[in-house]
């Protein structure tokens, strides 16, 4: 009855320390070996090595340490009946809401232009539409997207959403599927992508999509904000669309290749704002607390969550 922590791309030590603090009775392993493989019942993972989890005969649950589960689902050796719990909890959601609100407001309130003016010591007010004249379109209305929609609505923006199936959120116009995409894009001034990475959403942020965004909006051109997954965007298309005026600006937290290579032209584009995949960085404290709670629920025979739907892909 022990926990395996397997993490790629992050430092694993603070996670181990946090589990030991929150659940001192739970044995924790940092690597799989012949002596512990039978005892491991829980795995807390981030981008686990393909094939690793399939070696655990008594694995009962996989806990993902972040929001996106694409790395786990890509590993076809993992038995289909093992439940996967996503790392979405209150702290992670709150951080994503902060990041999205910040970048929507940053472009809405013309900070790129004001910073350019500041560098020239130029005092020049710029026409500012009210938030109620600006439409933010959110792709993906799951736990993160719904929370962002709520926050942006409260700030006064018009908010619409696009997702796989229709979602009923008060005050948010809902569009769904292939058929709803063009109508959604046609009214969107600021596009926020929070989609999970699936076959359908790979490369979805491309030139053809950018050209369908609202062209005559009050901000002088559409904005793209991506905090979903890097493989959802075609970076060459993004740069071309910024350069020919199809897009006015972009804020990106995710990239086709991460870390973003030093020679990517995105780094030095004056209308692109980059954060290094930190929009909703999981902190050990909040995520581990959620996992420890779910383990206690499981051992008490109670349902756990939030569970990944493998068919859906998230």
């Amino acid at each position: 009855m022990s926990l395996l922590i397997t993490i790629n791309g992050w430092d694993a030590a603070p996670w181990a320390a946090m589990f030991q603090r929150l659940a001192p009775g739970l044995p924790v392993h940092m690597a799989l070996d012949a002596r512990n493989r039978d005892a491991i019942r829980y795995a807390a993972v981030w981008k686990p090595k393909p094939g690793l989890l399939a070696q655990l005969p008594n694995l009962a649950v996989i806990f993902n340490l972040g929001a996106g589960v694409d790395a786990i689902l890509a590993d076809e050796t993992i038995p289909a009946d093992i439940p996967i719990v996503r790392g979405v909890e209150a702290d992670l959601t709150a951080r994503m809401v902060e990041w999205v609100a910040l970048h929507v407001l940053f472009h809405h309130r013309q900070m790129p232009q004001y910073m350019a003016q500041q560098s020239k010591a130029l005092w020049r007010p710029i026409f500012q539409p009210a938030a109620s004249e600006v439409s933010v379109g959110i792709m993906g209305l799951g736990a993160l997207g719904s929370a962002c929609a709520e926050s942006l609505k409260r700030l006064g923006f018009r908010v619409c959403g696009w997702s796989r199936t229709h979602k009923a959120l008060e005050g948010v116009a809902s569009y769904a599927g292939e058929n709803g995409l063009d109508a959604f894009l046609g009214q969107t001034d600021i596009l926020v992508c929070l989609l999970p990475l699936t076959a359908e959403t790979t490369s979805i942020l491309n030139r053809s999509l950018f050209r369908k965004l609202h062209r005559d909006g009050p901000l002088g051109g559409p904005i793209v904000i991506n905090a979903g997954r890097g493989r959802q965007q075609i970076e060459r298309d993004l740069i071309d669309s910024l350069n020919d005026g199809t897009l006015k600006g972009a804020s990106l937290d995710v990239f086709e290749e991460e870390p973003l290579p030093p020679d990517s032209p995105l780094w030095h584009h004056p209308r692109v704002f980059i954060t290094p995949h930190v929009a909703a960085d999981s902190t050990p404290a909040a995520i581990c607390e959620h996992i420890v709670q779910q383990i206690a629920r499981l051992e008490a025979g109670q349902p756990i969550g939030p569970l990944v739907d493998r068919q859906r892909g998230y």
Copy 2:
């Protein structure tokens, strides 16, 4: 029964056009002369020339076109019994909330550092505290300050407030007057100034105050955000405090002298972010609608507002 529009520092034409659209039956004068002075009952003003309003024998109400009334109160020739209506209404408040939320999030989410890293093509996540670990202290809890407190609370920040008298806002620790100032400052990581300009608040943002802000906060140094009035800040002290580490960063919408002179060192300070007094720019549409409503109420014998308290100074 006519309206005089007198505006200094802004273009008056859109205001006249808006009044004519919203109240076509209301005669509007753009200048005072011997023929119209007796007919003028209402004045819509921004920084009116001292002595001008005192020449109107039948003036019943002064409508201020922005939030700050310091320019009107400085004109001692205006009869003390003429009510002054402030330009605070929903649109202006919403814009201030946007600007304050943007700049609080901008510093909280380390955008100055991420932009500096971006300029060097540097991919490096920075430790990010949760909003619940960061305390935003708002100076001034009037209509604008209360709305900002509410918005920041919803984003998850700890919020405290300081004002002339105690204010009861749910979830906002309230401090008041001289006696409450040090305790308020000692817990504030991000200071937001939304105070009206009075004798007491002139030069209040000075070195001695900056040194009392929370020193060991999770952001690595206190932030100052001023959307109140420029004469509340000592700009020399701000720069010295940024340079010696007393402050980590600042966002400023107002300045001792406006427009900010081209040779001000604030323009090129790497941790100062400047907007040209546009945080809550009044738009003719929203402000004029409020004024036209108040005129209708007055003519129907109903109370009008929000009224300035001249003793208080705002």
